[in-house]
């Protein structure tokens, strides 16, 4: 098993690609299954946003729009500081399967490391480190 830079999931849906496309690429669609609220400017480079009742909001940037087969966007990793520029890339691929759709989602970019990570480690980042460490330890201690 390699380092998981990538997550891939496929799901068979009993609805035609056009309907799935609308659920993925419109504010109404996204708010109905993904976020609690959504906004989207559907064009490459356009911005999109989803927020949840919990208060969490994620900003997205639309990257690929090839109706009705490919929809791609990048978004921020919740685990990184808000001003961290690293993002993962999410791509949905829709293929007709009988009267329905085979939908594949691939998210990549988890193994990114900042070029200056090793330098930065010497120079600081000690602030906030204790809490990061605590979280990691909790992960490990969890039954």
């Amino acid at each position: 098993m390699g380092f998981p830079d990538r997550i891939e999931r496929t799901v068979e849906l009993a609805h035609p690609p056009g309907m799935v496309w609308a659920a993925l690429t419109t504010a109404e669609g996204l708010a109905a299954w993904f976020g609690d609220e959504a906004a989207i400017d559907l064009r490459p480079g356009g911005s999109a946003r989803m927020s949840w009742a919990s208060g969490y909001t994620v900003e997205m940037r639309v990257e690929r729009v090839e109706e009705p087969t490919v929809f791609g966007f990048t978004w921020h990793l919740e685990e990184l500081p808000e001003d961290d520029p690293r993002r993962t890339y999410v791509e949905f691929t829709l293929e007709p399967a009988g009267t329905g759709t085979r939908l594949t989602v691939v998210e990549t970019g988890f193994a990114q490391l900042p070029d200056d990570a090793y330098r930065k480690a010497y120079d600081g980042h000690v602030q906030g480190w204790a809490s990061e460490l605590g979280e990691l330890a909790e992960h490990l201690d969890a039954p």
């Binding site: 380092f3 999931r9 309907m19 299954w33 919740e78 000690v126 460490l133 605590g134």
Partner: protein
């Protein structure tokens, strides 16, 4: 091996060393002490933690091997150890990938489509 797979294997080895290092409560205590108090010698740490100086030296050697601490140049007894967070970040990315859950949202999408088709 293609370069990207080689890199993945290298990152996984880093993550594995971090998890091994963190699996021990004494090593976690040492890292937490360095994180909150800044660089310290083995003797300093022995004064602050309920761990013997010998055990601390052993743990520090393992932590240095994992790249989580770095020994600053100095006389043998006065070597100060400093945290390095880079390997921890690799491990964090590993956990982030595992934690990102697509099964939940895809299940919700399925239900949404069924509901809108029925409605």
């Amino acid at each position: 091996m293609p370069p990207d797979l080689q890199q993945d294997a290298g990152l996984e080895a880093v993550a594995e060393q971090v998890f091994t290092a963190l699996a021990d409560p004494s090593r976690r205590a040492i890292l937490a002490a360095l994180a909150s108090g800044g660089p310290a010698t083995a003797t300093d740490l022995a004064g602050r933690l309920p761990i013997t100086r010998q055990a601390i030296a052993k743990h520090l050697a393992l932590l240095a091997q994992a790249g989580l601490v770095r020994a600053e140049p100095g006389e043998r007894r006065r070597v100060r150890y400093r945290l390095r967070s880079a390997p921890m970040k690799v491990a964090q990315q590993f956990l982030a990938a595992l934690a990102r859950d697509w099964d939940g949202p895809l299940g919700a999408l399925k239900e949404h489509l069924d509901r809108s088709a029925a409605g």
